[in-house]
Amino acid sequence: MLVLTRSREESIMIGENIEVRVLEVRGGRVRLGIGAPSHVSIYRGEIYRAIQQENLEAARAAEGENTLPNVLPSDVKKSPDSAKKSLPSSNI
C-alpha cells in the first residue's frame, strides 16, 4: 500500500479524475472531500465490505436451492411496486 502524509487542504490525485482532499483533522478523525466522475462509486470501506459479504452469503445460501421461501409477510405493509409498475420478469 502506498503511504502518503498530507496536511489540511492538501490532496492526492488518483488517476486523472479522482481527487481526495483532506478538509479537516480533529480528534482522531479526518474529514475528506472526494471529487470523482459520477460513474465512480464511493463507499465507506466497512459498509462496502459488509454488503459484499452479505451478497456472497446470499449467493452461497441459495446454492443448490431451487425453491423460493414458502413464507409470507406477517402483515402486508404496502402493495409492492410491481403491482403498479411492470416488473420485467418471466415464469420459470
Binding site: 451478497n55 446470499a58 409470507l72 402486508v76 405493509k77 416488473l87 420485467p88 420478469s89 420459470i92
Partner: protein, 180 residues
C-alpha cells in the same frame, strides 16, 4: 400504452408479443427461453460479483413475495430477491442524482426497489439486505445495487414472516403476478 400489434415485428420462438427470445442456462431450472425484453443490465454488476452484468427476474410457480434474480451467463449464480416495502412500510431509499442518472431514472418513484434476501440455516431465518438495495428502472431495464448512507439500515434485517398456507394465500394476500 403502446400498441403491441405490429405485423412487421419479427418474433422468434414462442410467438408472444414481446419480440425475440433468448435461451439462458440455469443450474436450478435448466435451459429457459425468455423474452429478450426482460434481460436486465447491471452495468456495475452486484457488489462482489462485478463481472456479471446481465440478470433476469424469474417468478416461482406460485405468486409470492420472493423471486429469483438469475445471472445470465453464470448458470449457478442466482439470488433470492423481494420488494422490501411489502415487509417494511417505511423503508425509504434516498439516492444521489448521480445514482439515479446511472440507471437512467429521473425520479426514484419511477423505479422499483428490490432487496437481496439471504435464506440462512444457521442462524435460521430469512434476512433482507436493506442497506444495499437494488434500484431497477423497469422501463430501461437498467439496475444497480446502491449503498445507502443513512443510519438504520443494515445488511441483515430479519423479515417478519408467517408460514404460508393455501388458505392464507387466498384470503389474506394478493400479490400481483408477473408482467410478462
Amino acid at each position: 400504452m403502446t400498441d403491441h400489434v405490429n405485423e412487421n415485428e419479427v418474433t422468434d420462438g414462442a410467438g408472444d408479443s414481446s419480440g425475440k427470445t433468448v435461451k439462458i442456462s440455469t443450474s436450478r431450472f435448466g435451459v429457459l427461453e425468455v423474452s429478450e425484453e426482460i434481460i436486465l443490465d447491471f452495468p456495475f454488476g452486484i457488489i462482489g460479483f462485478e463481472k456479471f452484468t446481465r440478470f433476469v427476474i424469474l417468478e416461482g410457480p406460485r405468486p409470492g413475495p420472493f423471486k429469483w434474480l438469475q445471472c445470465v451467463g453464470e448458470p449457478e449464480l442466482a439470488f433470492v430477491i423481494t420488494e422490501p416495502e411489502a415487509f417494511f412500510e417505511d423503508y425509504d431509499v434516498s439516492v444521489t442524482p448521480e445514482t439515479l442518472e446511472s440507471v437512467k431514472l429521473l425520479d426514484v418513484e419511477k423505479g422499483i426497489v428490490l432487496a437481496i434476501v439471504t435464506v440462512s440455516r444457521q442462524p435460521a431465518g430469512v434476512f433482507a439486505n436493506l442497506q444495499g438495495p437494488i434500484l431497477l428502472n423497469p422501463e430501461a431495464r437498467i439496475a444497480r445495487q446502491v449503498v445507502l448512507q443513512v443510519e438504520g439500515y443494515g445488511t441483515r434485517h430479519p423479515l417478519p414472516l408467517r408460514q404460508e398456507t393455501d388458505d392464507q394465500v387466498e384470503k389474506d394476500i394478493t400479490f400481483e403476478g408477473e408482467a410478462c
